[in-house]
Amino acid sequence: MSTPEFHLVLPTRGGPAPAPLPSFVTDLRPGAFGPLEHLAEIGRAADVAGFHGVLTPFDPGGEESLVVTAGLLRQNRWLRGIAGFHPGIATPVYAAKVSASLQRFSGDRLDWRLTVDLDPAVARSQGDFLEGADRYVRADEFLTIAKGVWHEEDYTYEGRYFQVLAGGFQGPLAGRAFPRVLLSGTSTEALELSAEHADVHLFGLGDDLDAGIAELSELSVGRGPTPAFGLRLPVLVREDRAEAEAEARRRGDDAPAGLFGSYGEVADTIRAHLSRGVTVFVLEAEPGVEETYRLGEHLLPLFTEEYTHAD
């Protein structure tokens, strides 16, 4: 059985402001900490708890992912940083250039989570008026050019959306690992794009996992390595099922979706996914730091042992 990778989704919309202390209690916090401290704390927790990485999603309502990811990569030793963005944010050359520096600074720990099918109104608010299947054509050009200037010294490409003439990175900017590319979607265009470019294809809770895996595997034949398959889903896990249910009720959610139950039950579910071919698990867990430590101490070790035995 394959070794699973575990990543955490960062809550980039922030949380509620901490409750003020009574006025007669000394409070040293005001002015001492910036608004990104909490994200930094969760990132550090993920690193020390043994997660492979953290996903900073593309979210027009949240913090910008490349800036957040750069900080987390710098402050942590092992953590991979998955930065979410869409192909309209920059020229592919510039996205690659920023990423080349981050790979140099971090020892190749940056990944890209490219979102292609934004809601049209959201896209327009980001200055992007492209709709429909054309978005996949543009995403293909974006990734083709980004990889082209990354790997070749004299690179020219004349596309519908992007162009580059005699481009290509040189010197120490060249030769780093290209960021792993995470894509998603179940349409034919999305799967075609993944067959061409993805290192990991991420499915969501509502997706038909087996059909998607089968179709993408078929599309990948003759086009290089088949992408790894990933699953993004929420997790609520406790020592036993009753405790997990009590916590769910406390949160006002009687039937939580995703990974839910005791450590053993959730591990069984993960093993079932592993046997279907899913190896990358992108988990949503709140609150961040507490659940990160919990998962690192109680769930992740169940798979570390398997890995050791298998060897």
């Binding site: 027009p60 510039y94 920023v98 600074f105 040189q170 010197g171």
Partner: protein, 399 residues
């Protein structure tokens, strides 16, 4: 009005001095003993990266009295956004002046990155908006827009960036950009907008600067030429009711005595390629570069042939990559020249020196404390530059 003094940070490594044009800091030359970031331990790279050296320079700068540093952006450099975001939490007061070309990023994305960086740094983001001339053709970067159009695009870019900054909804329908219902979300919106340092020497640049620049940033030129350039910018901007401040980017080689400073230049001069002394070569479509080269009577044979005005030396590009003009002299002379520039109306400096780490400490300790602009200012407005202008030897007109 206080003077903001920045210290450049090298985004493509650094030399250990101006004596030899060898980049021993950063990995732009092969790994070798004596190299730093990465260094060598037991024959292997030690795991440090160029970012670790940049972090040292940033900390040296903030400890030495500089408000921050300019992070340049060229095809061969590390990226300023990546560096600033990485170093946000290990600096305290350091302002990151990020050089970037508007065409490469969408303005909504630039707004999002800037807002998150403002939150990560407590408002220490500054822009150096450049619109081209960065070495190879723009198409290396994947940018098809030609020279004058790039400034029109820069104007639109900043219109959109400012339009979304405080929230929204913001609509825009321009030649280069279109957005509908745009605006930064609640926690990101409404922070202090980064100060804009605007570069560009062409008429198109100066016209665009008028609308958006907080500071008009120029490379150093002989002071009379610089004053004329500032007057031109002022003329353009007054017409539309704006009044940007002025900033100058200056390399500094300052030593205890004038002799020691020139002796340091002489040591580097021995290694200059004789072909470079015949005259300048064109570089991209930068008007500023051509203009700088026009202040010198080429060919030259000795270092001081390039001294276009007292202490104003146009040969730095022969000893390290970058612009030609800087100040060479004793601590007192360099401080006096900076004072004269302040008297001419300069409000901010972006200083630099090789090596950036040690020279940040030197200039911070020995030059900055000698500044006495309050004695000179107010007596010498920009409109009357003759008061404090040193004699000029080689102003050969402007491009």
């Amino acid at each position: 009005m206080p003077i903001d003094i920045y210290w450049r940070i090298g985004t493509h490594g650094d030399q250990s001095s101006l004596r030899r044009r060898e980049t021993s800091r950063g990995d732009w030359t092969p790994l070798a003993p004596g190299g730093i970031t990465p260094g060598v331990r037991g024959g292997r790279p030690d795991g440090y990266t160029h970012l670790d050296h940049m972090a040292d320079v940033a900390r040296a700068s903030e400890l030495s009295g500089f408000v921050g540093g300019l992070l340049p952006s060229f095809p061969f450099t590390d990226d300023p956004w990546a560096a600033a975001a990485s170093l946000a939490r290990e600096t305290t007061t350091y302002r990151f002046m990020i050089a970037y070309q508007p065409g490469f990023l969408h303005p909504v994305q630039a707004a999002r990155m800037s807002a998150t960086l403002q939150r990560a740094t407590g408002g220490r983001t500054v822009y150096n908006v450049i619109s081209g001339g960065g070495g190879p053709p723009q198409l290396w970067w994947g940018d098809k827009v030609d020279h004058d159009d790039r400034y029109a695009r820069t104007s639109e870019f900043l219109d959109v960036l400012k339009g979304v900054w405080d929230g929204g909804p913001f609509d825009y329908d321009g030649r280069f950009y279109r957005v509908a219902g745009a605006g930064l979300p609640e926690p990101l919106a409404g922070q202090p907008f980064p100060e804009i340092y605007f570069s560009g020497s062409s008429p198109a640049a100066i016209a665009a600067a008028g609308r958006h620049a907080d500071y008009y940033l120029s490379w150093l030129e002989p002071f009379e030429a610089l004053a004329a350039k500032f007057a031109q910018v002022r003329e353009h901007t007054e017409a539309i009711g704006r009044s940007p401040k002025f900033a100058v980017r200056i390399d500094v080689l300052a030593r205890e005595t004038e002799q020691a400073a020139w002796a340091e230049i002489e040591r580097g001069w021995r290694h200059v390629d004789p072909a470079a002394l015949r005259g300048p070569e064109a570089s991209g479509d930068s008007v500023g570069w051509l203009r700088g080269q026009s202040f010198v009577n080429w060919p030259v044979s000795r270092p001081r042939d390039l001294e276009a005005a007292p202490n104003v030396w146009g040969g730095f590009h022969l000893l390290r990559g970058g612009p030609a003009f800087g100040l060479v002299g004793s601590y007192e002379q360099v401080a006096a020249r900076l004072d004269e520039l302040i008297a001419l109306g300069v409000d901010s400096f972006v200083l630099a020196g090789v090596p950036h780490l040690e020279e940040a400490h030197r200039v911070g300790e020995h030059v900055l404390p000698l500044l006495r602009h309050h004695d000179l200012r107010d007596h010498s407005p920009l409109a009357a530059p003759s008061l404090a202008t040193p004699s000029l030897t080689a102003v050969k007109g402007t491009v």
